[in-house]
Symmetry: C3
Subunit: 352 residues, 3 copies
């Protein structure tokens, strides 16, 4: 695969950026300020990295006007360098493009609908009644269950499972190993034995969603599990049945959301967060890593739980003390009473 | 796929329920009290939802006799409405049924045994010496390793891996992406370098077990990893080598059980729980979400660890204070001594 | 598959062990001290199990010279019995051996290179420009992306995904369901909407690495994600983009490492540990299970966080008290001041 090459002028035009420097300079890649060479473009987004600007060897740097003033090299001046980098990154992506058409080894049910512009990979299985819209890529070894829908421009990596009756919006990206529409964990206990409850709801996923590698999203027990527009889910996430996630919420790896919990819009849920079931988290909430969320959150803001890391020896003492905390609190209260008594008695004696 | 329709009378007969209302009323689905329409059946299991009964538009409701007294609409009266719902749920499941037979693209080893009533999906691979019993469904793209056995009535979703020498009981359900019999994490350290230990045990899974999507169960190092009858494992769970889980224990998503740990019968392990290796948990234990289990549990009951969620600013203070806890405990003890001295000296002076 | 049988003499020779007993005795397996029968070899590595030696029925036991003195049965005397067991374990592994060659159903791109001694399983897909070295086994249903490389002697279980441009060293073992080179979680926020950043880096994995079942290793955003030589990763681990892991570090199940974090050599990261992004952990660090690592670690040693498990009733009290800790600390300080005042006033009065 040949490496794409663009001139600085072409890149400036794409971004609507102000070009400072040689419009004809060839750029064949992106790299960090520290690593970029003379044929690569870099960017300064985090002020902490401003210190690397002086020694930067990049062919050009994406900079704000303010930062460009203190930099002598070639630059593309933009309002938001990180966003500009995001936009240009796709030009240099070496991800293979799939050709339209159904691979000879793919199995497409007679009554499934596959748009002529879609690409169906090797050994993919498209079951009865499924519909694959225009421009969709289905990777090798994917299984698309009965009556499931994938909207325009979707991209599924190899080895993705959609069970039956999963409806996915437009431009949705699903990484390898993800499982969508698995049977939620529903059982009724009959004298100690668990009786399975059929999971008859589906999954509905909005537009512009990303689902990470090996993430699982279970189908609803009765109604559908709902993932809003623009939601971004990282790898290894577990979304249980009947969860609802609002538009543009992002969730990092290994988070787990229990059944029927509703998360609002524009939330950020960090890695390893766990939420119990049947709670509601309002819009605009940021939950820090590994937080245990056991109750609803009704005010926007940042929330945390957990204890700070310590050397193991100190930690053992802290952990032991936490188990004594209730006792300590009672003794503290007792001391306050006793001291108040002493002080008042002391006052009395000094009065005497 | 046509929606199944049953009359209230048919449903009452299936459950052995007392029918109150129109026996001929058509029911074509299940829904919650709030969402059910006139052609749907609902149920009241959680007393918190009793308030929704008055405005319920359901065609009929599964109710206890006591609840039925305060409800005017049609009802199916049963001892346990949730269990009745579980039983009826399967009637309305739109999960596609597989046809008996081996798909033309499936690869079955010459010496593997597949019952004529089993269904082997597209591109499935059944290796040498494997045995697939009557009524088993193997989804597309499953790989069944050498000499592995799947008992009667099992159901494997697409994309499940069984390594070699995995023995699975009857009526076991395995969701997509699950991996059973992977090589456990066993290494001997030789001067800083890890030497792999071949994992020569297998996995034995009982009857009526469910294994969730992307859950992994490793094979034993020497003896077998053992999963008892009726065990229910949710998604994204990690069961390490030589773990033993007792009958009818249920475990929620993202739990991780380290090597050689034994969990008893009828336990409930909530989501995100982690257990260290080589411990024992007795029967009848409930462990709440994200609890870190670092020692054996010898008494039935509920167990927890972790700290409650706080706004991040308050949490930072708490987390800092936890690191001071040992110091605080010592100062508290010191204060108690000092105050005792003051009090006794105070008493002495008042005696004087 | 016939069970392999070795004589004690043969095993002694392989290990360079001192044989005490019948050189011709047939050994057909390995087992623990408690479970081994007369045709099995056992070992004593953990002193806690020395008590099982007296009743041991094993055909022979791997022992140190010191332990052999107090054991009457046949023995293979070695410096490190656990390491000796690790070495012999491979003799008794019933894992099926794959034959060299490309399975008739495997799809190998015209410009991919597959060594004649490699084994490519059923339905495997090898994309354009990929290179598979000598002695590599690729399991059924694996997908090897464009230009990815697998070094000599590698072993991939069925159902492994390598995206494009993933470079893997020699003798690397990858368990089923693992996904390597998935697109890292990179998005730029534009007025509340997340814009995807193409992940144009790759993944580079060293020699002698093991990757567990359903573990995910994301490709780099710009530069590569790097896994050193001899690194062992258990199941269900999440390695985010641009993470670097040093040689011979081992990480247990369900750990999650956020983007751009660097972990040193010879570290041990226990199960369920979470690390935030952009930190550095030095060589020789041991992090205990479920620890939340929110800052860099610059000194070798053991580190922990989290609270100890308690009965749920007691835990609720502790958890509530933790939220009062800052208040308790202030009250404790106040008491100390007050008591100091009382004591000095008391002293004054006793002076008087």
């Amino acid at each position: 695969m040949t490496v794409p090459v663009f001139t600085l002028g072409q890149l400036a035009e794409r971004l609507g950026a102000t070009l400072r420097g040689a419009a004809g300079k060839a750029i064949s890649g992106l790299a960090t300020l520290q690593e970029a060479g003379p044929d690569q473009l870099s960017f300064l987004a985090n002020p902490q990295y401003r210190k690397y600007l002086s020694d930067c060897r990049a062919g050009a740097v994406l900079l704000t006007a303010a930062d460009a003033d203190s930099y002598g090299g070639d630059a593309l001046i933009v309002a938001n360098p990180y966003l500009a980098y995001a936009q240009l990154s796709h030009l240099f992506d070496r991800k293979p493009q799939s050709l339209a058409g159904v691979h000879a080894t793919a199995l497409v049910a007679a009554d499934a609908q596959v748009d002529a512009s879609a690409s169906i990979g090797a050994y993919a299985v498209i079951e009865s009644g499924a519909r694959i819209a225009a421009g969709v890529t289905i990777g090798a070894h994917c299984v698309i269950g009965a009556r499931s829908l994938i909207g325009e421009g979707g991209w599924l990596a190899p080895r993705v499972t959609l069970y039956h009756d999963v409806r996915i919006g437009r431009r949705v990206v699903i990484q390898s190993g993800a499982v969508i529409g698995g049977e939620g964990f529903g059982f009724a206990n009959q004298k100690g034995v668990w009786q399975k409850i059929a999971q008859i709801g589906g999954v509905v996923i909005g537009d512009d969603v990303e689902v990470g590698a090996n993430t699982t999203i279970d189908r609803g027990a009765l109604a559908d599990t709902l993932i809003g527009n623009g939601v971004k889910l990282d790898n290894q996430i577990m979304i249980a049945h009947n969860v609802q996630i609002g538009d543009n919420t992002a969730m990092a790896g290994c988070a787990g959301i229990s059944g029927s919990t509703k998360i609002g819009k524009n939330c950020m849920i960090a890695g390893g967060v766990g939420m119990v079931g049947h709670i509601e988290v309002c819009d605009g909430v940021f939950v820090t890593g590994m937080t245990m969320v056991t109750r609803s959150i009704t005010e926007p803001g940042s929330y945390s739980s957990g204890t700070a890391m310590q050397p193991a020896g100190e930690w053992r003492k802290s952990a032991a003390r936490i188990r004594q905390l209730d006792d300590m609190a009672r003794r503290l209260q007792q001391l306050e009473k006793q001291l108040a008594a002493v002080t008042s008695s002391g006052n009395a004696s000094s009065d005497a």
